[in-house]
Amino acid sequence: MAELPRNLAANPTLSRWIRVAGDGAVEVHVGKVELGQGILTALAQIAADELDVDPAHIRMVPAGPGGPDEGLTAGSLSVQDTGPALRLAAANVRSRFVAEAARRWAVDPAALSVAHGQITGPDTTIGYGHLAAHVDLDVPADPEVPVKDADKLAWTGRDVPRLDLPDKVLGRPRYITDLRLPGQLFGRVVRPPSPAARLVALDPAAPAGEGMTLVRDGSFLGVVGADEAAVVRAAEAVRAGATWHERDTLPDEDDLDTYLRAGPHESTVVVHDGAPVPAGHRRLSATYSRPFVAHASMAPSCAVALWHGPDRVEVWSHSQGVYPLGRAIAAALRLDQAAVRVRHAEGAGCYGHNAADDAAFDAVLLARAVPGRPVQLLWSRQDELSWAPFGSAMTADVTATLDAGGRLSSWQYDLFSQGHTARPGYAGTPGLLAATTLAEPAVYPAAVDPPAAAGHGSLRNALPGYDLPARRVTGHRLLATPIRSSAMRSLGAYLNVFAIESFLDEAALAAGRDPLDLRLDQLSDPRGRRVLETAAKAAGWGRPLPDGRGLGLGYARYKGRGAYCAVVAEVEAETEIRVRRLTVAVDVGRVVNPDGVRNQIEGGAVQSTSWTLLERVRFDRRRVTSVDWEAYPILRFSRTPEVAVTIVDGGGAPSVGAGEAAQGPTAGAIGNAVAAAVGVRVRDLPLTTEAVVAAIDRPAR
């Protein structure tokens, strides 16, 4: 007996996934959410294939109560995990409609065909809509229903334009910030001035103002009112009237290496092959690091909440997981889980665990003061850049040996990092920011790391994909996180791949070998070899370049089991490091939407370029100081490289995600290209002009 795909087994009822109205309109409900990555379009293509309808005629319903609970939209797993579930659900639905038509016409179902939502029999045609009232979809999916063969798929593999982009480009209401519910009020939270601050006093002479509702619970402060601009002014008045007790709790931003190594840690050994380091082999060591990095999405986080009486609340959020968020809110307020209903509304780009969930809880707390009225809560840019979780700073030590033939003969890797997840529900806690400031404050443990089965956190991609003997790879996770950290696109893979790929080039230099040759010599996976060779060829690897320019390579298979990606960066070092071009080859298995894959790879490569060249969260011992776009610059149009993407045929391998494949390889490629261009190695990110100059001035090791 066949088994249901995991997400369908967890949500087996067909009507949770697909509903057909009397007018033939097809609604598809998935638990995955649109984050700007185009996932709803790709999933519509999959459903369209099995239903035999056009994607444009499918309405993709935002995740929420009534749809399937698919946990988080994270880890580049949506096509991989939801795809097979939705495909089989859609095949089941089609099969049930065909069976109903066959019953009516007293013919063999096999004699019927379906196109554009119309079932055609020997004599006549009938639309899904006409049968909808007679086809029961409140039934469990049957795993034995066949799905189509890959070569029969009409929509998979096509550049179907994004379903959501017309609204976004034409400026139609689409985002959560555009929600205008009847009677809706606006809310703002007055966050403490620093992470450890506690409210001491609130000047009673600084009231929020006429028509405003002041919300106070412990150190949680907020204002609700009908006029958004007036609410913003009132929140500033409240801020001015608040007295806080503050403490210094943050590490030294200029010595994160010491901070990350100091511990206490929880150490995890990923692999220890045990073989002794061969005697007489040449030994190399280097340390690589990155600072804290911000999500820095273009919109600050937003949410809408509406209380129906004292114990039931409805929430709209751009969270990555509306079900986990609902459970966390219920836990934080000691409500019944069914009393919190969260539905997804699209926000600006989401690159991991940002402040969306925190904003949802803020909205719930504010709206509780005005039951029956929806409250739209919006964070400020400053709060977004200082209170949302960051991607953790990391430091990696690599020690390896080279044999006489210039091959790596052993590999030791030690990684120091804060944890990479503090999502709602992490470590058994709600994990919602405002709960830590209430009169009865929640105390949360340090950020943790997803387990190996979920692809690790700090240690994601810490294990090189190359054929290396005598490996020892260990992660050391800090057990305190005074700077809040959580999942950010690719988690630890970004720094781990940067470290591994940088070190490979350092080893190639030491051995007098070409970096591409060294990699291919120790990479037996044919799909890995193909992306490396494809990117190298497309970029003209080995061609002569003028002084001050360089090419560099980076490669990884995301999580060791996802997409293969190789990048060649061409950089120019003049007054600043300029990435002229990124040439990328990627293998994501079966491609649902080629332009969607290219767009994700381009975006991932450009975002990684921004992290790699520019980004560093700044703070003093008390508070984050990089709270606007001048203090936290990101890559602008004038420095954005052209990205040329080649999709390498995955030979029929199952689909894997593309959203996080390019970040690590891009960073490695840029670092290596900088070394090729200026002749020195910069091991600490970001690769600013100052960092490059400091590396040039550094005494040789």
């Binding site: 958004e228 273009m298 840019r381």
Partner: protein
């Protein structure tokens, strides 16, 4: 009461004079195409035209548009502007939050200079931040709308 022309029609609004224009557009007139990004005029998500010049509406006080002409993305119609069509043809967005601001800057550029070269497009869009990494597609789209072949 402050009066100005909004998308071709005379309008009056009773909001406090120092209210940022963005709030007035979104909340008093229901024009949601200009988007809040930073509130400091640093990211470009809220750009509209005042007297044909692209300006960030989040730090433009209402009093400053008294008697002036304001055009938002909703006022470019009827029908999609060639810049918007080109953006859709290039699929030049991921989350799309920055894109209406980019549209307004690009339209102002093409109004002034119908066939800009790439360096000019990049310069004109450089005030806009895009976090998803769709910058090169947007540049291609604006060049396409300006009739450039490449």
């Amino acid at each position: 009461m402050i009066s100005f022309r909004l998308n071709g029609a005379p309008r009056e609004v009773a909001a406090q004079p120092d209210t940022p224009l963005l709030y007035v557009l979104r909340n008093d007139f229901g024009l949601l195409g200009a988007r809040f990004g930073c509130g400091m005029g640093l990211c470009g998500a809220c750009v509209v035209h005042v007297e044909g010049v692209p300006v960030p509406s989040c730090d433009t006080p209402l009093w400053s548009v008294e008697g002036k002409t304001v055009v938002t993305v909703e006022g470019l119609g009827p029908g999609p502007h060639p810049v918007q069509r080109a953006l859709l043809e290039e699929q030049a967005a991921q989350c799309g939050y920055c894109v209406t601001g980019v549209v307004m800057s690009a339209v102002a550029l093409l109004d002034r200079q119908p066939h800009p070269d790439e360096a000019t497009v990049v310069r004109e869009l450089d005030r806009h931040l895009c976090r998803c990494g769709a910058q090169r597609r947007m540049v291609r789209a604006v060049l396409r709308a300006g009739g450039a072949s490449g």
